[in-house]
């Protein structure tokens, strides 16, 4: 992903293109990273289908709790989880994470698809290539902003704070032991 962002930025920003030159190699790196980005998830899905399907199910199913999460989205910046009915099923991901997953998946797949007419430009009309390129640039910017926001929220989350404090973070879920399902010691569940 970092290679895609860097090479894409070099190709997009004229001043950087001028510094780096070597268009063929920058483009080749970009295409190689794009191919890897497409192939890696497919490989992981093929090798560990059950786990991937489980994660996908957790990400795609939105319950009442998720919609309630969006009634107070600013809470995420305050490291607070929204209190919900304890009888409800607890999801592995919060609504923000689910939204991020959808947006990132749409952006990544559409970036890949819009790359097709950009690469095989001779098989498409100039207008189609142009529209694909416009959308490609837009989505790339949106994805970078989305990733930056995700990283930021990750850093201000309890996991991020722990990581920064201890330079290590547990893979275990944050324990929830209070009766209403609120996080133990005020620790939320990240972004």
């Amino acid at each position: 992903m970092a290679v895609l962002v860097v090479t894409g930025t070099v190709m997009y920003v004229p001043a950087l293109s001028q510094v780096f030159g070597q268009r063929f190699w920058v483009r080749t790196l970009h295409l190689g990273a794009a191919a890897a980005t497409a192939i890696a998830p497919a490989l992981i899905a093929a090798l560990r289908w059950t786990e991937v399907a489980s994660v996908e199910r957790h990400l795609t199913i939105w319950g009442r709790r998720d919609f309630e999460w969006f009634t107070q989205p600013w809470q995420v910046f305050r490291n607070r989880e929204i209190r919900v009915d304890a009888k409800q099923d607890r999801s592995r991901f919060n609504a923000g994470q689910k939204l991020f997953a959808v947006l990132a998946a749409v952006a990544l797949v559409t970036l890949l698809l819009t790359g097709v007419p950009m690469y095989w430009w001779d098989r498409f009309s100039a207008e189609a290539v142009s529209r694909a390129r416009d959308l490609h640039v837009l989505l790339a910017m949106a994805l970078v902003a989305l990733l930056a926001g995700h990283v930021y929220l990750g850093l201000i989350s309890p996991y991020g704070l722990l990581l920064r404090r201890r330079r290590a973070v547990s893979e275990r879920p944050v324990p929830h032991d209070s009766a209403d399902g609120s996080p133990k010691r005020g620790i939320g569940r990240g972004t």
Partner: protein, 216 residues
């Protein structure tokens, strides 16, 4: 786990919307991009052109010693100095510039010497079938068959939009083929060579189509 598969549906709808914009979006993607790019200032190309180079630097040139060479299968090889070019009445062509990667610049006004006039002046021999265009960067070359090279509007441009070419746009001279994609427009041009057979251009050797004609 109870609820609805909102994520899956959103993914399908979002991706379909993206594809729809590419297929039938008209000017919407361009308008959105312009809107997003407008606050970015110098990060985006001011004149609409992106900068492409296949080497790490822009070739330097000296106006006093620079020559545009026309050689190969010709009877009278030429070496035109910048002053000689400046004293010539330049021809003009206005065309949209299209890059294969999808960006375009509308109504670019080029001024320069028609390739046909240069070839006539040099006296192309009957054996010649194509012209090789060589950049001063020493790496980028491309070819046009003679018929294409002699077409109206095919220029060795020295000016763009009524101003001398900038270094980024290919100064002092670049090839302009208004009906081809931009990769045929060799920048920092220093030599035209009449050859018996068209070779493979820089990008064509790297997978680009030999037919660079813009499809509308």
């Amino acid at each position: 786990m109870s609820g609805r598969p909102v994520g899956r549906r959103s993914f399908i709808a979002g991706t379909a919307a993206g594809l729809g914009l590419v297929a039938f979006g008209g000017g919407v993607p361009a308008a959105l991009r312009s809107w997003v790019e407008s606050p970015l200032g110098d990060l985006t190309p001011g004149d609409g052109f992106h900068f492409y180079s296949v080497t790490g630097s822009i070739p330097q040139w000296n106006p006093g010693t620079w020559r545009l060479v026309v050689d190969g299968l010709v009877d009278r090889p030429l070496a035109l100095a910048r002053d000689e070019v400046a004293a010539t009445r330049l021809a003009g062509v206005t065309a949209d510039f299209h890059c294969v990667t999808g960006w375009s610049v509308s109504s670019v006004r080029w001024a320069g010497l028609p390739v046909r006039d240069l070839l006539d002046q040099a006296g192309v021999q009957a054996r010649a079938a194509a012209v090789r265009f060589e950049s001063a960067d020493g790496v980028y070359v491309d070819y046009l068959d003679l018929q294409t090279a002699r077409t109206d509007g095919v220029l060795i441009a020295f000016n763009m939009n009524a101003r001398p070419l900038t270094a980024e746009r290919g100064a002092p001279a670049r090839l302009v083929v208004p009906f081809f994609h931009g990769y045929k427009g060799v920048k920092w041009l220093r030599r035209l060579t009449a050859v018996a057979e068209a070779g493979t251009g820089y990008w064509e050797a790297r997978g680009y189509a030999a037919d660079a004609r813009i499809r509308h």
